[in-house]
C-alpha cells in the first residue's frame, strides 16, 4: 500500500512553506512527522497532489523559556518534548500527554506542530494545551498570529488555520508556585487515541484554596474540550469532595462524546467524570 502520486517540495523556510502552500491551495498538504498523514495517504483517505515538507526548515526545533512562557517550536519531535527538562520541571501535565502519544517510533518522528494542526479529538496534546491555557503560534500569508487554545479548535479535525497557514509553535505559560498538573488517559491499547483523556493543571494557595485551574478533555467530542464552567466553579474552593462532584457534573455538561470503533458515547460519558476526578487528584499530589 502506497500513496497516490504527488509532487514533493522541500520548504527551506517558513516563508517558502507558506508560498508553496498558497500557490497550490487546497491540493497541497504540509508534512512534518507524517505519522498520521502518511498512513491516511496510504489508505487513500487523503490524496494531496502536492506535499510541502516542513522538515528542512531550520530553527523550528527550539524548547526555550522566555519571560513566563515555555515555547516549543513546531518541529520539536515528541521524543524531544518528552525529555525536555523545562517541561519536566514546570509542566509535567504536558510530559504525561507526550508520553502517551503514539509509541516510541511515532514519538521519534511526530512533531508538536503536526499533532496540534492535526487536532484529532482523541489526541493527547489538545487536552494538555487547554488545561495549561496554552496558545498556538501560526504563520501564514497574512503574517504571524497567536491563537488561544479554545479558539484554535473549531470542529472535527478542523482548526482556525487559514489557507497557507501553518503551526510554527506553541506557547505554554509557566505556572506559579504551588502548582501541579497531570494528564490521565483511558485507551484500548497502548499508543492508541484516547477513549477518554483528562488533563488538570491547578494552583493552590497556602491554605489549600484553588486559585487557578485548567481542565482539558480528549476523546469526548469532535474537538478537544476545555471545561470552562467546571474551572470557574472550582476556583476559590477548597476542592472538597462536594466541590469536585459539582465540577464533575459541569464536566459532564461540557462534553459531547460520540460512539466510534473505540467506545460508545455512553461509556465515554461514564468514564469522563472518573478520569477528570483522578486527574485532579494526581494534579493535587504533584503540587509543589
Amino acid at each position: 500500500m502506497f500513496p497516490n502520486v504527488f509532487e514533493y517540495y522541500r520548504a527551506n523556510s517558513v516563508a517558502e512553506a507558506i508560498a508553496l502552500l498558497t500557490k497550490y491551495g487546497d491540493d497541497a498538504r504540509p508534512i512534518s512527522g507524517g505519522q498520521s498523514l502518511v498512513p491516511l495517504m496510504k489508505l487513500r483517505l487523503v490524496n494531496p497532489g502536492v506535499i510541502v515538507d516542513l522538515n528542512p526548515i531550520p530553527g523550528l526545533d527550539y524548547v526555550r523559556r522566555t519571560d513566563g512562557v515555555i515555547e516549543l517550536g513546531g518541529l520539536v519531535r515528541h521524543a524531544e518534548a518528552e525529555s525536555a527538562a523545562l517541561l519536566k520541571q514546570h509542566l509535567p501535565v504536558v510530559v504525561d500527554a507526550v508520553e502517551l502519544t503514539g509509541d516510541m517510533q511515532v514519538r521519534n518522528r511526530g512533531t508538536v506542530g503536526g499533532v496540534i494542526a492535526e487536532a484529532d479529538p482523541g489526541g493527547d496534546w489538545g487536552a494538555a494545551l487547554l488545561a495549561v491555557n496554552g496558545k498556538v503560534e501560526c504563520e501564514g500569508p497574512n503574517g504571524k498570529r497567536v491563537i488561544d487554545g479554545p479558539d484554535f479548535y473549531l470542529d472535527f479535525l478542523t482548526t482556525a488555520l487559514g489557507p497557507g497557514e501553518i503551526v510554527t509553535g506553541v506557547q505554554l505559560p509557566v505556572p506559579a508556585a504551588r502548582s501541579g498538573g497531570a494528564y490521565l488517559k483511558l485507551e484500548r491499547r497502548s499508543g492508541d487515541f484516547a477513549v477518554v483523556g483528562a488533563a488538570v493543571q491547578l494552583t493552590v494557595g497556602a491554605d489549600g484554596t484553588c486559585q487557578e485551574i485548567g481542565i482539558g478533555l480528549s476523546g469526548v467530542g469532535t474537538i478537544p474540550i476545555k471545561a470552562t464552567e467546571a474551572e470557574r466553579a472550582l476556583k476559590g474552593t477548597k476542592l472538597t469532595d462536594a466541590d469536585v462532584a459539582e465540577a464533575a457534573r459541569l464536566v459532564d455538561g461540557a462534553i459531547e462524546p460520540l460512539t466510534d470503533v473505540r467506545a460508545s458515547a455512553e461509556y465515554r460519558r461514564a468514564m469522563a467524570g472518573v478520569y477528570f476526578k483522578r486527574a485532579l487528584k494526581a494534579a493535587q499530589a504533584r503540587v509543589k
Binding site: F2, G34, K42, Q105, V106, G191
Partner: protein
Amino acid sequence: MVEIKLKVNGEERTADVEPRMLLVHLLRDVLRLTGPHVGCVVGRCGACTVLWNGKPVKSCMALAIQTDGTEVVTVEGLAKDGELSPLQEAFWEHDAAECGYCTPGMLMAATGLLMQNPTPTEAEIKRAISGNLCRCTGYVNIVQAVRSAAMVMSEK
C-alpha cells in the same frame, strides 16, 4: 523520479525514487534489504522499524525521498563481520522469536532503546516495544532478551 543519496548500513547508496515511494519499499524492493517487514501497512505493528539518523522509526510511515542525505540502519546492519550484535545473541539465547515476523522490528526498536538508555528497567523495555506487535505473543522472552543484552553490554 528523483535521485537520492543516503547511507544504509554504513554504505553510501543512491537510488531513483518517486516521491510517493515509502522508505520500506526503497529498502526492500530497490536496495533488496528485506529485513524490514511489511506487516500491518498502517504504522501500528512496527515490523518495518529501522534506525533513521540513530532513532527507531517505522519505515512504512516515512517517504524515501525524505531520507536523502541521511543515515538508515536496518536489521541487516546489526551484525558485524558475521558476528551477531549482543542483542541478537540475546534473542537467540532466550528464544525470543517464534514465527520471526516481528523480530527485525523488535531488534531495531530495542537497539534504539539501548543506545539511548543502556540500563532500562523492565517497564522501560515494555514501553519501548509497545509499538511492536508480536502476534505469537512471545513478549516475555523478548523482554528477557533485551534485559539480558543490556546486562551483557553494560559489563563490557
